[in-house]
Symmetry: C2
């Protein structure tokens, strides 16, 4: 498999210099312990060193140290199907008897058949529409409980573990490392905010207000003297592809200086980040480890990495090999 030249170029930052500085800022535990020494780790460390060193020409004030992370495929796994899609599948199946009109709906057919090619072709919107219909009229509190219950009881088909175990240890370390260096870390995901918020704080140290994602319409009412928010059968915002820079603008209001993704859906977020003035970090996680996780890229129906990979090569963004850059993928590994 072709490896982009950014790896080679990144090697100009010598690992020795970077490692020395890393040791100087490290607490008792090494901050990026699950990362192998190599050009990807060195590039991350050197970037953080440059933007946090007041004497550096690349210094960035704390107020502007914004880092954005895609979720599916970047912070946790996304195969064999986005985990939210698996949740949605259960929700939609449960609601199907009440919606005979779905029988002829292509998104419904693709979802039930887990037809990834069809789902990829359709895009997120018609699939999300099924879910918003399935759960409309629910209060946001009840919907939150549905998600928590599903996450507590469902297991991943390959790993036989709760989905929340499938977060990447090296990325958790990276989030902590950035925050320890004055960054604010945000998720910017095509998934819905409701699905991520219940567990993102524990898994990533990212509080609900730093989770940017797709949004459903909700409506305020007073019922029996109590304020209630109810889900409406309408999507308010799709935070994917060109939606990601829009979500960043609307929610964060500042251009990030570092962005982390893994697929073509992250391309525009990476472009906006990289196009800012001054030092920038754009990084792509490449799924090339079929043993510990999965191997997929240009032709995958889920998490397709094609255009963004070409651009990473052309613009010397960092491409992380899960296989060779990470000495462990999941926290549960021995």
């Amino acid at each position: 498999m072709r490896r982009p030249s950014s790896h080679v170029r990144a090697a100009r930052w010598t690992a020795i210099v970077a490692a020395g500085w890393l040791a100087s800022v490290a607490s008792a535990q090494a901050p990026l312990a699950s990362w192998n020494e190599g050009p990807a780790k060195a590039a991350i460390v050197e970037f953080v060193k440059a933007v946090t060193d007041e004497k550096s020409k690349d210094f960035v004030a704390t107020a502007d140290r914004i880092a954005v992370f895609d979720n599916d495929g970047t912070l946790w796994a996304e195969q064999p199907l986005y985990f939210q899609a698996l949740f949605m599948l259960d929700q939609v199946k449960a609601a199907a008897p009440k919606h005979p009109e779905w029988k002829n709906n292509p998104a419904f057919q693709a979802l039930v058949a887990q037809d990834k090619a069809a789902l990829e072709k359709l895009g997120m919107k018609p699939v999300l529409e099924l879910l918003v219909t399935a759960n409309s009229g629910m209060t946001v509190a009840d919907y939150d409980k549905t998600i928590r219950d599903w996450l507590a009881t469902s297991k991943h088909p390959k790993f036989k573990r709760p989905y929340t175990d499938l977060t990447y240890k090296p990325m958790q370390e990276l989030l902590s490392f950035l925050r320890a260096n004055g960054f604010r870390t945000f998720i910017v995901s095509g998934g819905s905010v409701e699905f991520m918020r219940p567990w993102a704080e524990k898994a990533y140290g990212i509080p609900p207000e730093q989770v940017v994602g797709s949004q459903q319409e909700v409506k305020f009412d007073m019922k029996d003297g109590k304020p209630v928010l109810t889900r409406e059968p309408k999507i308010a915002f799709v935070d994917d592809g060109p939606g990601k820079p829009v979500g960043i603008y609307r929610h964060i209001g500042k251009r990030p200086i570092a962005a982390f993704g893994n697929s073509d859906g992250d391309l525009q977020m990476l472009q906006v980040t990289a196009a800012g003035e001054g030092r920038r970090l754009a990084l792509i996680v490449h799924h090339d480890d079929p043993v510990r996780e999965y191997a997929y890229d240009r032709t995958s129906h889920i998490g397709k990495l094609d255009k963004a990979w070409d651009e990473a090569v052309a613009k010397h963004w960092i491409v992380v090999s899960m296989k060779s850059d990470w000495n462990r993928v999941f926290g549960f590994e021995k």
Copy 2:
């Protein structure tokens, strides 16, 4: 003028106990120096003490210490007209020659005439629509510059000072006091996020991502190889009245434990905050100081305080008298 009974009730927290604790947490400078000793200050201090004391039955973990603040009339002045409306007036006037169709538009007529009664009747939406039309096609960077230029050069008609001087000193102290006690502080305003973000960090210590407000549609494009966000002639979200709990849910994702407002547009935000389980603080700033600022409430066209006042009385929320509870209103006062 009738003073609500919440003041009287709040007096049960003796000022002596509260002041003693306040002194113990204060740094060199007293944290709420612009607040007179009295039931309103005592209630704030006692609330913060209760939710931050691990031994208290009302203790709230840091992760859940969310406080939300209305902006216009709560953190800065809003008379003779919302400052953003004055900005919009200039923008709309400048764009009017290109829009002959506006001549018969009631919102345009009301805005140019500064007809507050008509503006109140129309609500924010048609007025915002004029602005989004006036500025559509602008990049978000150009729009940001327009706002910064206007704020740098415009002066308030009564105080003859830049609008950003008209932030309330006691509220700035309150924001700092809450943050010093582990709170995250958010603006939740009917105004647009773009108009507040350029100065909110300096004025209030609130970074852009903690500013929730009305939103215009923006569109992502690549132009000459550069990513650009352009304003579209459509409102995406109106963060006022029943929109405020929706904005809080979508942006913050947790129910606040403290809410601060001044008008009926804040009622639903206060209701949602007060309806949560455990100890809550709901506070209304009452404009009753015609000398240092303005005096208005039940019949005002801007910042009308009528229903929310009744509810404050009925539910024993705190009502702050600007006249008697604040020993200074603005930072520029001697």
